[in-house]
Structures are given as C-alpha cells and as structure tokens.
Amino acid sequence: MYFDKPPSEADMKDLKAEEKYKVWLREQYASTIFHLVDLLHHSNPSIQDLSLTTMMKFVEAEGQTPIRKITEHQTFPSRLFQKVFNKLLDDNTDMSRLWTKFQEYTEFDDVRFYVLTFLHSDLKHKKNQEVSDTYVKNVFSLLENLTFNSKPRKMLPGGEPRWLAKLPENEDVLKSRSVDEQKKLFSTVWLKFLRFKLNTSMYKRVLMMMHDKVIPNITSPLFLCDFLTDSYNIGGAISLLALNSIFILINNYNLDYPDFYKKLYALFDPIIFHAKYRARFFHLADLFLSSTHLPAYLVAAFAKKLARLCLTGPASGIRIAITFILNLLKRHPNCQVLLGRLDGPSEIPNDPYIFEETDPAKCKAMESYLWEIKTLQTHYCPEVVLAANKINHQLGQQEELLGDVLDLTTDELIEKECKRRKKETAINFIPPTGLFQSQNDKFSSCWTHIES
C-alpha cells in the first residue's frame, strides 16, 4: 500500500485499524526524517556523522523497499535524498568534513548520479547570484570527494553497476545513469564551478587536484585550458601549480601552448627556493626539460638562470639546483660549453648573460660561463661544495637522480651534518680569553658594550 499524500481526515475514517497504524507509522517516519535532517547541522561532529549515516540508511532502505509507488524510471528515493543534499550544500555552514564522510556513498552509481544532477541544477540556479565562500567551499569539498572508480567497469564491459537502491528494470534508465553520462554532468558541473570566484587557498587546492582527479574524468579536458592559462598567467605559486595540468594537456591532449618555455623561464625566480611546492616545481621543471630535442640555447638559459638564483638561495635549495643544472648539462652535452670551451678567450670583461631578459632566446646564456657554480665551490655547506666540485672534471653520462635530493630541507641538512661520524673533534688551539676578546673577533668594529 502506497501513499503519495497523507490521507485526508475523511479518508481516515474508512480505513481499517491496520491501515491506520500504517498511516501513523508514516507520520512518525516523516517527523523523524525532519528532525534527523536538522541534526546534520549539529555542533557535535559525531552526531552529524550519525545522522548522516542514518539518513543514508533510510535512503538505502527506501531504495530497496519503496514506500511510494515507483515508476519504471524511478527506484531511487530522490526526494528524501534531496533533503540530505540540500543540507549538505548549505550556504552558511561548512560541511566539508561531512563530505569526506559522504565519500563512501559516492561509489554507488545512483548516488553519484543524483549528487551530480542536484548539484547541476543548484549551480544553474545560482548562476547569476552572488554566492558565499562557504557555499563554494562546500561545493569544492563535494567535487573533491567525488570518485569515479570506473576501472573495474572498463575491464568488464557491461558489468553490474553498483546501485544503492534497487536496479531499475528499464535498460534506458540504466543507460541514462551510466558513468559516461555522469562524466558529462561532471564536466559541466566543474566548468560551472570554475566560474565562481575562488579564494587563494581554494584556488591552489583546485589546481593541485586538477591533474589527477579532474582531467582524467572530464569529457573534453581542453575546456579547462582557459582556466589553466589564466591561472598560469597569475604568477607565483599558482602558476607553479597550474604547470602540471597544463603539461598534461600539452602532452596528452595536444594542446598547442605558445611560449610554454618562455613562461616557464619566467617562473624561475628567487622565490622558488622558498616556495612550499619547491620539490614539485623542480620535479616538473625536470620533466619539462627532459626532452633531448630542446634547443641548446634554451637549456643553457635555464641552467644559467637557475645558477644565478643559487647566489641568493638557501643551502638545501642550492643542493637541488646544482643537481638539476648538472643533469641538464649531461643531457645536453652541447651546453657543456658553459663549463669551459676550447676556443674562447681566457678572460671576459663582463658576463654576457642578461639576467633581466625574459626571453630565453635573447639572454645570451650560451656565451656565458657558469661562474656561479664555481663560486658555490666555496659555499659554507659541505654538501653543496661537494656537489659543485663535480664541474671540475668532465661530466659523465650518468645522470644523478633528482629524486634523491628533491625533498631535502635545511633541517635535514643540519641533521645530516650532526650525524656525520668523524674520528676526532678538532678544537681551537688558542685558548680563549673571553667571549668577545679573541684575536680575530669581528664584533668590536660594529658593537659596543658587548663585553662587560
């Protein structure tokens, strides 16, 4: 027996006792759901979790044994689910924690489909409205936690789709809910989402997940090109992060990106040594420059610029940079003129390299030498010195693994120095007379009253 609407008073009289009981039960159920949905915004996270799981259990139960009359197309209790969904996509409450919790349900095809449909309609609805940051955040955490685990499906064509609710009998319905359809929805949703104004941290997070979560699941990744190009042009850390996705587009989707290397060249800035994503940047830069078909002037420009940046960088960054540069030179032997050539003059009045030039083709790096690396041979950090000393001899064929030094931090360098076992500790042989009274004390010229 199904009720689409609660029966009116008049009808009630006609009902039998058992049916009355059922009506009463329905009422109780409705009120329970009403309260449970409210609890999704409770301050206590465990209550939130519990109410979410309970609601989803209800969804599942209704999907299996519907309380309304089902049509052929509809087995999923979308009305009930929409209530949950709307609460989760609230304008004012940050629900990102619950979305991570919700991730286990997005593995079901039907749930994912309805999430995407609802989100799609929601976004369409809010297209011309100002949206709150919290709403954007919620949408982002939704998208972040949406997973397409289509791998097993690919191996078994026509394999059973996973549904939380009962599988509908109609083939067309199944088809319309298929993963491909969902991906179409996913693409439009993403493109709509990217039109929102994102704050910096959100922007960075979007870019960070772009290459492995978004691009593979989107129907035509080239749509993302505009967004990525814009982000790449912003500069700083954001362009650093956009680099990866753009590279994937160029590499796999035939994106024609003019001046890619020029822009990459511009990214080489003193800040890269201090950026949070230093390892990622160097890894990617190494990847981009790994082709042996790059022109020598380009490689030389990169090597020279990085070497110049080393003159102001921290020890750990320099260590990475030296390995990077030497690998470049090994990969492109015709760039090794930077370390010395046979026919050149023995003295050069001025470094021909133009640091400020943004075009690697015009910076005259090929005419210069890597004096910077030579300078780093007197660096204070022994690790750096040992690495820099390698230019004294001919470079071999074997490239050093960049991954070994990529995650090096100054803290690790210090620890490494401490752990170094040496036979004997040397100490000064001239006994001191005081804190600031030794022979080669440099403090007296700048400080007074430092000793009492």
Binding site: H274, T312, P314, I348, Y380, Q394, C418, K422, D441, F443
Partner: protein, 921 residues
C-alpha cells in the same frame, strides 16, 4: 741402512699412490685440449674428465632418488627403514648386528622386569651378598672388624634366644613377659651403645696419634736447623714475623740512608728563546693542520690523542705526565697541599677510591713544608683546610706513621720530582687568590639562588661531616667565611645550581676550576665521566645565564676558559654536548617555523651567545666539523627564514651576520643568506618608489607593513651621529619594541650593515661571481637616502660603492674543465704487468656495481646448472618410460604369440581329429 730407508720411503709412496690413484681406463678419459699453455697456471679440474664414469654415477644417483620417486608417485604410504645402521655405510655387518642385539636385550630387560620372579635373587653368606664379596669392593678393615663382631654377637644372641621360640636357652619368667617390641628395642639400644663406645675409643686413639706427631715434629725441629723448621710449621712463621717487625730505629735509619738519592737530577731551565721557539713551532704545526681541515683534505689523522695542556702550563716544555720516571708516579703525585701540588708527599694513594678522599686542597700558607716531611702524608687524610690543626694532629699521626716505614723509600724519591710541580701550582693559585681578593662580591644573584640559600649552606658543610667532632666546630666557623675546597661532582643540573647558589661570579669560576682539578681524569677512574657530565651542566648553565635579566655577561665571559679547558680534555664528548645544545635550539626554531608556515623567529640571546661560544671553542674554518657546520647552517637558516617585523629582528639578524662573518673569516666561504639579508636591510632603509616594486630576496617582501623599518623618521635627524650598536642593551630580552624604535638605532643599524658589507666585500673579492653577488647591493646603495645620514656614514657608503665598482671592473676568467685522459686504442700487444701480485686486477666500477655483477654472474651460473639438471632428469625419466613401454610391449607380444601358438596347436589337433573322422567314414 740406506737401502732400508729407500725401501721404506718407497713403500710409503707406493702405498699413498695406490691409495689415492685410481686406475682409469685410458679410453674413458677425455682430455680437453688447451689452446694456450700458460706457465704457472694451476691445472683446473675441467682439463680432463671421465664422462662415462660421471654419467654412470649420475645415472646411479638418479636411479636411487628420482626413479624411486617416480615409481612411488601413485603411492600414499611410505616404507621407512628404521633398522639400525642400515643407512650407515661405515658399519660392518657384525657391528650392525651387535647394536641391534644390544637394543633388543635392552628392550627385553625393560619388558621382562614386570614378570620376572627371580629378579632380586641374591645369594648370601653370613647376611652378605655373595656377589659383593666376590667383587672385593669393600675390603674389611681392622676397625670395622669389631663392628662386624658386635653385630655377629648380637645376631647370635638373637638367633639363640628368639629363633625357634628360643627353646635352645632357658629364660626367666620376666623375660618371657617382655613383648617382641620391647625386646627389639633392647637390641637396638644395645647396638647403639656398642657403637658409641667404639666411636669414643677411636677418637681417643686419633688424638693420641696427633699428639705423638706433634711431639715428634718438635723433636725434629730441635734436631734440624731453624730454616727448615720455619717451613714446616705455621707457628714458626708467626714467630718469625714478630721478630722481624721489631726493627729498631737504627735499622730504619740505615735503610733510609741506603735508599737516599745521591744527586738531584733536574731539568735544565729553558731559555726564553727556546720556549718561544717551541711555542712558535707548535702553533705553526697546528695552523698547518687547520688549513688542511679547511680545505677538507682528510689526510691520515694523527692517531695520538691531542696533548693535554694543563691549565697551569707555562708552556716551558715541562710536562707533568711525561715525567722522568714513569706515568704511574705522575698519577700519584697530583695532590694538593697548602695550595701547592704536593704529590711527592703522598704515596698513600694506592687505589682510586682512597685517592679521591686524599685529594684535598689546603689554602693557608705553610712554609715548613719540607720540615714536616713524612708526617704530612697521613695528615692530609685528616686535616683539611687549616694548618692550625696540623700541630694537634701530628701527635696522633705519629703512631700510624710506623706502618709506612716500608713505603718511605718511595717517598724520598718522589720528593725530588715534585719540586717543579710545586712551583707551577703555586703560581696559579696565587693568581686565583688575588682574583678573589680583588673582585668584590657581586650581589646580583638569581632569584632561584636566593630561595635555596639555606640548602647552599648545608652543601658547603657536607664534605666536613666525616671529621672529628672536635675539629668540626672550628672548621665550620672558618668554612663559613670561605669556599669549600672539595665538592661532590654534580650529578644533575639542579645539583650544580645548588652548589653555586649564593656565590658571586668569581667564586663560581673558582668552584668550576676546583671541580675541574678535583676530578682530574688522572686522579681516578670515572673522573673523566664526571667531568664530562659536569661539562654538560656548565654549557647549559652558560646558556641559562644569557637568559637572566640582565644577562650575566661578566660571568659568562669568565666561564669561557673553563669550558674551553674541559673541551680540551674530552673533545668528542664536548662536541656532543654543544651539538645537543645547538640542535635543541634548532628544533625549537623548526617548530616555530612549522607553526608559522615557514616563517621563523630569531631565538633569544642564549642562542646567539651559544653560537658565539661555539665559534670560540671550535675551529670555524674546517670544511666539515661536527659542531661548527651545523651551527653555521642553523644561523644561515635563521637569516633566510625569518621575516623582519621589528627593530629587534634587525639587530638580531645583524648580530648573526656578524657571527657568520667571524665563522668564515678565515676560510672565506660564501654565505648567500647573509648577503641577501644585508641587501634586504639596505632595502628597508632605502627610499621606495611606490610605483615600482623592488627586487628583494626572501624572507624580505617588496610590499608590506615593515618595508620602511629602517627609514629615518623626520624629527632631529641632522644631530645624530652614526655609531656602533650597543650589544649589551640591544640584545637583551628586556629591550622592548619602543625602546628600540628610534632614529639613533636605525642609523646605527644602517651603519653596521654597511660596515659588514664592506667586510664581506673584502672577503669575497676573489669569487668568480663577485659581480653577480654584489650587484643588487650596489643597486640598493644608490637608493639610500644619503642626504639624511651624517657625513661619516655617507663616506662609508661611498667607500663601499667604490670598492664594489672596482671589483666589478675586473674581467672574469673563463672556466676550464680538466680534460680526462684520452682513452687509448686497444693494442694487440700483450699487456705486461711489471708488478704482478698474483691476483687478478680489479675491474672498474663502484663496489656496488661489482657486487651486483658478481651476483648476476652467480645467478646465471646457477640457473644454467639448474636447467641442465632438470633436462637430464627429464631425459632420464623419458628413457626409463621408454624402457618400461618396450618391456610391456615385448611382454604382450610374447603372450600373444603364446596364445596364437596354443590356438594353432588346438586348431591343428581339431583338424587332425576331423581328418581322422573323415578317413574313418
């Protein structure tokens, strides 16, 4: 004879040959022909072999193992041969049988014992087992003869009276009334009585014999000489000893005279020139070492420990440890008496524990050191601080003195040696005393100290507790006024704080020095350990002093030397201590940085001064050093990761820059962070063009609240003069933001920046990238508001600019790569090795590469072998299967044939019969 020998050797050789050499059929032996014969090369196994034999061997083996497995492949049950020795090839049939038989017997015995009826059957004679008697294990001794007699008597009696109802004897009525039990008890009592009687008799006899022996010995002793008798009896030895100990004064005098040293050998005093020359040579050598370390050349390090230089060393070449006699003497001789080293007097430091007690220092002057002579050695145990007590004690000590007569000789000898020591220690102590007098008591003490002042009093008195109560009172009164001379080595940091509580700076230093001397490693085992822990506390204390309000710079200054001396004593341990101090601070910095998302904070004054201390104690110019390298990295990290938010940060940064300069002053190493930092400071002081962003290096930012931190603020600029920064005030943690926020400090900071840049410029002039390093600095210099600065600062900036410009104009040398030796073409001439060691030359590549190569090779070989084995196995099996099928086939053929033939016979017979029948009809 010769013939015989030859025969023998021949025999042996022949035997050996026949034993080892197996006769091969020459047709079975296959010889692998060698292409080249190499002289001296060992003959390998593979040169010739017997393929037939080895094949048959392999076949046999397979038949034993693989075939068995093959045949039993469908069988589940297994037959295990458990017969003894069946698998043992070495046992002969007979031995096998013997072993089996033995086991069988053993099993039988086990089984049989349950049912055997005559198992315990033992024949006796007179109640004794016959078997025992036969063995003669227990030969009857005369003593026990009686024993047996008694038993016999008893038994006879019992037999007579009891057996057969005792009808053989007549009994009285009383006796008949006794129960059996009573009778038996009687018997037992009787036997016991006999036994005890016998025992006492025996003892008596033993005593008598002993006495007789003794008497005999005495007689013998009288008869023979004394010398013999002393050996024979213990009593004699004791008597003898008593006699010898009663040596009179005369003997003593003779002996002392005998052993008195005749002449006094002494070191020739070196002239001043010689001392200076030696010192110069020493310093030159050390400097050369330093240079080597700076270049990071790891030559064979000297295995000998660095020579310990005592705090009292005058550098006149005299060394306490390398004495004329031996080292042991030196160990004994360090003993403090009246503020002098008086080791010679003290010979009673036989073991370390006792020695520790003995080492006490006396302060007051006593001129009659020599006169007191021998008495003092014991006295030093008793007396402590005062000489006034000496006289009282002398009487007491006299008795004990006797015991030491034997040791006197050594005393005398030691006296001579230690005259020199006395001189040295005298000096140092004089200094110390004068210091104490000169410097006035500093009342500024830590709050903590004041709190535990009472505890301090107690700890002062502690060492006195063991003394006579009579003396203690006097001593306590004195001790209240002055420092104690012995201290327990502090075992924890709180211990140490307690120890120095309530003492002024000078006294604290004195305490440190005294502890250092008290627990000198040469004075006892475990002292080194104590000093090492103490060293840790001292360094920690040094850091804590910097955190005081105001920082106790004076005291810290004085602690430097003791810390240095302790470091010299055990450099490795000290390195560990300093490393821990630095690393704990670095850890703190790291945590702050993590919390603030990569932005650090300048740590307090203690860190700055600790780093300074490191630069004083350890060589900063080394290429790699356990302490200085991490310190330098830490400093650079602070400079590179800390954003500047206030004047305090500027001053701390400047200090660290200055310290960096000191670290690399000799080695001229390049510190990018320092230059970037100084460049950033110039940026903070420069005039900014709001439309154009300056290029600055992290941690500086081209925009922000603090980019005008060092800009001069308008009022009264012109009056100011650029000076030096006041370290004491500015670095202290009390310096607040407001107190630092004035033009004078900004001006001084800029002046210091320029000064430091000048220093760095001087150091780095020879760097190939000099221009690239300093061009941003020149750029920034031109943007400084020079007209606001006083003339001397303007001059300085101009000088900096001119020096830099001059450096820029120098042409840069082109780089040259050292060419590797060209690889020679391969020659066909034989390679001749002049020094052939008999080993194969190592092939190139790293160790790891070689190892992997080796493993790969081994794997290949093993793989080949395994494949071959498998192939042979399958061949063998196939052969066997073929054989089986052939057998089966032939068997079947034979059977079919037999059947056919029998059928043919039958047929023939039938036909014959039918023929017969036809014929009949």
């Amino acid at each position: 004879m010769a013939k015989k020998k030859k025969n023998l050797s021949d025999k042996i050789r022949g035997k050996n040959k026949s034993g080892s050499f197996k006769k091969f059929n020459p047709f079975e032996v296959k010889i692998n022909k060698q292409k080249h014969h190499v002289l001296g090369k060992k003959r390998t196994k593979s040169e010739h072999g017997a393929p037939g034999i080895s094949k048959s061997k392999a076949m046999k083996k397979r038949a034993g193992t693989l075939l068995k497995e093959y045949q039993g492949r469908h069988k589940v049950n297994k037959l295990i041969d458990k017969r003894i020795g069946e698998k043992d090839q070495n046992l002969t049939l007979e031995e096998k049988m013997m072993q089996r038989y033995a086991l069988e017997r053993k099993n039988e015995e086990k089984k049989g014992s349950i049912y055997s009826l005559n198992e315990d059957e033992d024949l006796t004679h007179y109640g004794q087992s016959l078997s025992n008697i036969e063995k003669f294990d227990n030969p009857v001794v005369s003593d026990e003869d009686e024993d047996d007699d008694d038993i016999k008597r008893l038994k006879a009696k019992i037999v007579a009276e009891e057996h057969f109802g005792g009808f053989l004897t007549k009994k009285s009525d009383e006796e008949t009334q006794k129960s059996f039990k009573e009778k038996m008890e009687e018997v037992i009592a009787l036997s016991k009585k006999y036994k005890s009687e016998r025992q006492s008799e025996k003892n008596e006899r033993l005593e008598m014999t002993e006495q007789a022996d003794k008497e005999y010995k005495e007689v013998m002793h009288l008869l023979c000489g004394l010398s013999r008798s002393s050996k024979s009896s213990d009593n004699k030895v004791e008597k003898e000893a008593a006699v010898t100990t009663k040596a009179d004064d005369y003997d003593i005098a003779v002996r002392t005279l005998q052993f008195e040293a005749k002449g006094k050998a002494s070191d020739r005093l070196k002239t001043d020139e010689e001392i200076a020359k030696e010192e110069k040579e020493r310093l030159e050598k050390l400097e050369a070492d330093r240079l080597m370390r700076m270049k990071g050349i790891t030559e064979e390090e000297n295995t000998s420990e660095p020579r310990h230089i005592s705090a009292d060393d005058l550098f006149d070449g005299f060394n306490l440890n390398i004495d004329k006699r031996d080292k042991q003497r030196a160990k004994q001789s360090v003993h403090f008496k009246d503020g002098k080293l008086a080791g010679g007097d003290d010979v009673l430091i036989p073991k370390t524990k006792k020695g520790m007690k003995n080492i006490e220092m006396n302060d007051d002057e006593s001129d009659d050191n020599e006169e007191e002579g021998l008495e003092e050695d014991e006295e030093s145990d008793e007396s402590d601080e005062d000489d006034e007590n000496d006289e009282n004690e002398e009487d007491e000590v006299d008795d004990e003195e006797n015991e030491d007569n034997d040791n006197k000789d050594d005393n005398k000898r030691d006296d001579d040696d230690d005259d020199d020591d006395d001189g040295d220690s005298d000096d140092s102590y004089a200094d110390l005393e004068s210091e104490e007098e000169e410097e006035k008591v500093d009342d500024s003490m830590l709050e903590k100290k004041a709190l535990i002042k009472s505890i301090l009093k107690k700890s002062e008195n502690k060492p006195l507790k063991s003394r006579n109560p009579k003396e203690t009172k006097e001593i306590i009164e004195k001790a209240k006024k002055e420092l104690p001379y012995t201290f327990p080595a502090p075992t924890s940091y709180d211990d140490w704080l307690n120890l120095i509580q309530g003492l002024n700076a000078t006294d604290q230093v004195t305490v440190v020095e005294r502890i250092q001397k008290l627990y000198h490693p040469s004075l006892g085992e475990g002292n080194k350990q104590k000093l090492q822990t103490f060293h840790g506390f001292l360094v920690q204390y040094f850091g804590d002093l910097a955190l005081q309000e105001p920082p106790e710079l004076e005291l810290m200054n004085k602690l430097v030397l003791p810390i240095y001396n302790l470091t010299k004593m055990s450099p490795d341990n000290a390195a560990e201590i300093f490393q821990n101090e630095i690393m704990s601070r670095q850890e703190e910095f790291r945590q702050i940085t993590e919390r603030k998302h990569g932005r650090g904070l300048y740590l307090g004054l203690d860190t700055l001064l600790m780093l300074k201390l490191v630069s004083i104690i350890f060589p900063t110019s080394d290429f790699q050093h356990k302490v200085t390298t991490p310190s330098l990295l830490f400093m650079a990290q602070m400079l590179g990761q800390t954003p500047l938010n206030s004047e305090r940060d500027v001053i701390y940064g400047l200090y660290i820059c200055n310290l960096c300069l000191e670290f690399i002053g000799m080695s001229k190493r390049f510190i990018p962070e320092a230059i970037s930092f100084l460049h950033g400071l110039l940026f903070l002081a420069s005039k900014k063009n709001p439309k154009q962003l300056e290029k600055v290096f992290p941690p500086f930012k081209p925009v922000g609240d603090n980019i005008n931190l060092l800009n001069m603020k308008p009022p009264n600029i012109s009056k100011l003069k650029a000076g030096k920064l006041n370290g004491c005030v500015l670095l202290a943690s009390s310096a607040t933001r407001d107190s630092l926020n004035n033009n004078q400090i900004r001006l001084n900071a800029v002046s210091t920046t320029v000064e430091l840049l000048l220093e760095y410029t001087n150091l780095y002039t020879d760097l190939p990238a000099f221009k690239d390093i300093f061009s941003p600095v020149v750029n920034m210099c031109s943007k400084l508001p020079i007209d606001m600065y006083p003339a001397d600062l303007q001059e300085k900036i101009a000088k900096l600019q001119s020096v830099l410009e001059e450096g820029f104009s120098k042409p840069q040398k082109a780089l040259q790569v050292q060419k590797n030796k060209p690889i020679a073409l391969k020659m066909f001439e034989p390679q001749v090795e002049e020094k052939w060691t008999g080993k194969r030359k190592k092939c190139g590549g790293t160790k790891e590469f070689q190892q992997t190569q080796k493993l790969v090779h081994k794997h290949k070989r093993e793989m080949k072998g395994a494949v071959r084995d498998i192939r042979r196995d399958s061949q063998f099996l196939a052969r066997h299967q073929l054989k089986e099928t052939l057998e089966r086939d032939s068997d079947r053929k034979r059977k079919v044939k037999a059947l056919y033939s029998s059928l043919a016979n039958q047929e023939g017979e039938v036909r014959a019969l039918t023929k017969m029948k036809k014929k009949k009809y």
